[in-house]
């Protein structure tokens, strides 16, 4: 009986989270266009429904009915698999993120997280890196030279920020004493980690931008040079999958930032999930804001920046954190 309840609970949580995430992602595209619109003294989409609220649905329907073109010289299995990899990893990363404390329902204790894994951070890194494979393979298998350049850049970018990203988060792991995300949030009950780790927070935002391939680090895409780079040959739902994956990844990264530095679901008065969503929205807004402000870097600059600036700073941050953690 207990097993049945467990399965039922997981199933419901999965469905609710995925549905919410998908809706969130859909409306994130609209929000981004609206916010960018206001930054750029224009209105943004406003044709489909009042304030353009049906725009994401219209976009979805449109991409669903587009012809699905597979280039002749594409490596077909990989070409088809690549967007799935991106999409899958972006979704499964979200399973680890706690969006609220325990609640009691029908006499059962329910944790507001799909999977409370004890190696949480490692799992997230693993999936994050795997997600990049979707981009690398997608560009490479589409048999287009621009695609290949996009993949090469994605691969180069991946190695330059991933190491730094890991080391940045080590600081919070030392402070929390755990890799489990719920425990990291619990450890911030008194003070958010952004107070102890302000530099790590900033570095994380930078590295996160690189991870989700957004301006100023949108190398694999760089629409003006590579004419969309890795997804140049993708059309229809395969392209939509890449898009959804990109935005889901954006949400995940913002949610992780909330979890590691902004106290996750913790906050007064309002219930946990509300706080969690609010903080995530603030982070997402920051990401969109950055996109509206900065030009794109060149890819060798990113590599130099990743290895010569981000990495040493992250190490320094780790050493200092470790030093003070040993003292206290």
């Amino acid at each position: 009986m207990e097993t049945l309840y467990f399965v039922l609970e997981s199933l419901i949580k999965n469905i609710v989270v995925i549905a919410c995430l998908m809706l969130f992602v859909a409306y994130l595209t609209l929000a981004e266009r609206k916010i960018l619109g206001y930054i750029q003294v224009r209105v943004g989409p406003n044709r489909v429904g009042p304030f353009g609220i049906w725009q994401p649905i219209a976009d979805g329907i449109k991409s669903f009915f587009k012809e699905d073109v597979i280039p002749l010289n594409a490596d077909k299995p990989i070409y088809i698999l690549a967007p799935m990899i991106s999409f899958f990893t972006a979704l499964s990363m979200f399973a680890l993120i706690p969006f609220g404390d325990k609640i009691y329902l029908f006499g059962r204790e329910i944790k507001l997280v799909i999977a409370d894994v004890d190696v949480g951070i490692l799992y997230i890194f693993a999936l994050g890196t795997l997600g990049e494979y979707g981009i690398v393979l997608g560009g490479w298998s589409s048999g287009n030279k621009y695609g290949i350049l996009g993949s090469l850049r994605a691969a180069a970018q991946m190695i330059s920020y991933e190491v730094a990203l890991g080391i940045i988060l080590m600081g919070t792991i030392i402070l929390a004493g755990s890799l489990r995300l719920t425990e990291i949030v619990q450890a911030q009950r008194n003070t958010w980690f952004i107070v102890y780790q302000p530099f790590a927070f900033l570095l994380y935002v930078v590295a996160a931008l690189a991870e989700i391939n957004r301006t100023p680090f949108d190398m694999p895409e760089s629409e003006s040079e590579l004419a969309c780079g890795f997804n140049i040959e993708y059309s229809s739902m395969k392209f939509a999958l890449f898009m959804i994956a990109e935005y889901a990844h954006l949400v995940t990264v913002a949610a992780l930032c909330t979890t590691f530095f902004l106290g996750g679901w913790l906050g007064p008065v309002l219930p946990g999930p509300v706080w969690f969503i609010l903080k995530t929205l603030v982070m997402i807004f920051v990401f969109i804001w950055i996109r509206g402000t900065f030009p794109r870097l060149r890819y060798d600059h990113i590599m130099k920046f990743g290895w010569k600036v981000l990495f040493p700073l992250a190490l320094l941050n780790l050493v200092i954190t470790a030093f003070f953690a040993t003292l206290s």
Partner: protein
């Protein structure tokens, strides 16, 4: 050691950053460019040849379609050439208005340039800021000329019309406001560390190289060569205006950007002076032979009607000879070389398009640089394919 091979990649003719139908054949070693061959001609409409079968006033409309981002400058350059051939004396008011319109057009062209150049580098917001002002300028030009892109407004002997009421006030308001707008673009770009990294020491040219390649305009001045047709060979009364020629030092993409932004401020000054010191008087030269009578007279006077009809139908015959007239357009020195055999049509009209000659220096600039720099370099020389292919 494994054998290394270069990759040949075809950039364009349909590519978001080649500013039209330019096609570049890039040979890449990784992301480093080892060789680049520009291919042009996708927008060739035979403007030079077409003009040989048109009367002089008719051929004016072709010039709109050369550099379609600054059509009034093209009109002006063509008219100057024909006027030189006819030896017409242009009234002061028309000259000042020509300067005013040409400078407004230069601002519009430079705004379009800063917008697209920044967009190529991923800075999307600048595009919309610059287009906001460009829209104002095009609105003003439309008030005067009746068209936003293809005005054909500067006519042989002067202008098609005088400025409408209220235009001067609008220009003054714009001139007042515009320097603050340039400051806005500068906050987004000039000191932005990413912008500097993307532009400084990218696609550099030395002064000697630039002169050897015949490069003109902001690209040349960014190398520190002080050559501006407005100062060197003043036309249309530019010698009566007080303005400076901004110069760069290193001749890289960043300097070209700085030079153009400074030029916009100078253009603003010129517009200010032109509108405030605008003389009164006629806007067309006094020539019964080449300049059509005004509409009022055409309705009342049979002789004027016939004269109007003759000029519209047959144009006018020009003295035998060859002339060259050039102006400083937003891209560089735009010249028209007209050969007349004494008939009412040009025997040969050769256009010196600044974009074409500046593009010739592109391979020199970008060999050895990276793919992302190609986009920066193309943006920085500000090409318009309508003018290159003619």
């Amino acid at each position: 050691m494994a054998e290394t091979r270069t990759m040949t990649i075809n950039m364009g003719p349909q590519h978001p950053a080649t500013h039209g139908v330019l096609r570049l054949l890039l040979e890449l070693d990784g992301e480093i460019i080892t060789k680049v061959v520009p291919h042009i001609g996708y927008l060739h409409r035979g403007v030079e040849k077409l003009s040989e079968s048109m009367t002089y006033p008719q051929a004016l409309t072709l010039t709109d379609r050369l550099d379609y981002t600054s059509a009034l400058s093209n009109n002006l350059a063509y008219c100057l050439a024909v006027e030189k051939l006819l030896d017409l004396k242009i009234p002061k008011r028309a000259q000042y208005l020509r300067v005013l319109l040409a400078e407004l057009q230069r601002l519009a062209a430079h705004l379009l340039w800063v917008a697209t150049h920044a967009l190529d580098m991923g800075a999307m917001t600048v595009l919309f800021y610059a287009f906001r002002e460009r829209e104002t300028i095009l609105g003003m030009l439309e008030q005067v000329t009746g068209a936003r892109l293809t005005p054909s407004f500067v006519r042989i002997g002067g202008l098609a019309k005088d400025i409408p009421d209220g235009f001067a006030a609008e220009v003054r308001a714009f001139v007042e406001d515009f320097p603050r707008r340039i400051d806005e673009y500068e906050t987004l770009l000039t000191d932005n560390i990413i912008w500097k990294k993307r532009t400084q020491n990218i696609a550099p040219m030395s002064a000697d190289e630039a002169v050897n390649y015949g490069v003109t305009g902001p690209v040349l001045r960014a190398c520190g060569v002080n050559y501006d047709v407005r100062k060197a060979y003043p036309y249309s009364g530019y010698d009566e205006f007080d303005f400076e020629i901004p110069l760069g030092e290193r001749g890289d993409v960043y300097d070209r950007y700085v030079v153009r932004l400074k030029e916009m401020r100078q253009s603003n000054r010129i517009i200010d002076q032109a509108i405030n010191n605008l003389p009164t008087g006629p806007i067309l030269a006094d020539s019964a032979f080449a300049v059509p009578p005004d509409k009022e007279a055409v309705g009342k006077d049979i002789a004027a009607l016939i004269r109007h009809f003759k000029i519209a139908q047959e144009g006018f015959e020009t003295p035998r000879g060859e002339v060259y007239a050039s102006i400083e357009s937003s891209k560089g020195e735009l010249g028209f070389y007209v050969v007349s055999d004494g008939s009412n049509k040009p025997f040969r009209m050769r256009i010196r398009p600044p974009s074409f000659i500046n593009l010739g220096a592109l391979p020199k600039m970008i060999e050895g640089q990276m793919v992302a720099d190609v986009v920066a370099a193309i943006g920085s020389i500000d090409i318009v394919l309508g003018e290159i292919d003619r």
